[in-house]
Symmetry: C2
Subunit: 108 residues, 2 copies
DNA sequence: GGGTTGCATCAGTCATGGCTTATGATAAGC
DNA sequence: GCTTATCATAAGCCATGACTGATGCAACCC
């Protein structure tokens, strides 16, 4: 499983996206995250584990608590994947149009 | 469900990523896709429907066949989402370091 | 026209993974 | 020390959704 693949897998679950968007507002403890999303604390811990495995979050201990925050690494991986894919898609699209493909063709 | 959310959901399934990466190589018929990935033809059709719903693929009829190709729209949505998120994450990270956060802190 | 191929939809099965409760471990507070 | 709070792991349940076989429809071929 490649890095970008892991990131996409991690972002495939709505609850994990909610956690990440919450962390987008700054560092939070597991308890704070649990209070924000409507699932149990163990569920949050499991999601955080997946997010950390994808390089999307980092944590540090602070006494008995553990603070989580967004990690740019995973987002960078995703960004690189999307960018490469996107450039190629645009090039293909341009070539397609050049060959006479219509832009407002039937879509399904 | 926002656009970026739909894209992330669509890319959350490994088989759909495989289909998309195959289409990355150019237009393909449903049969060709089915032969490439190891699932049944109905499964492929269902995945293509989800990918199309997320704006990741487009199709056009060619006689009895239907040709699918990558659609830049969905990728653009994802790109915008990632970029916005990424910029903020970097800014947060910089602020965190300024406040005395270590860069090679404990990561779990 | 009859047969064949290509694709989508339907209905139903099954497995992945998201969720819960229970438990254990560590740190702080009294 | 004992209790309380915070978090992670374990075990098990359950629902979503990925997949299959069956069927129907359209377009090509003979």
């Amino acid at each position: 499983m490649t890095d970008a693949t892991r990131v996409l897998n991690a972002l495939g679950a709505p609850t994990r996206r909610a956690v990440l968007e919450l962390l987008h507002g700054g560092e939070r403890t597991v308890r704070e995250i649990t209070d924000a999303v409507e699932v149990s604390q163990p569920a949050v811990s499991q999601h955080l584990k997946v997010l950390a495995g994808a390089g999307l979050v980092r944590s540090r201990a602070s006494g008995a608590r553990r603070l989580y925050r967004v990690d740019p690494d995973g987002l960078g991986e995703l960004r690189a994947w999307v960018d490469a894919f996107w450039d190629d898609a645009l090039a293909e699209f341009a070539a397609y149009v050049d060959q006479g493909g219509d832009t407002d063709e039937e879509k399904r």
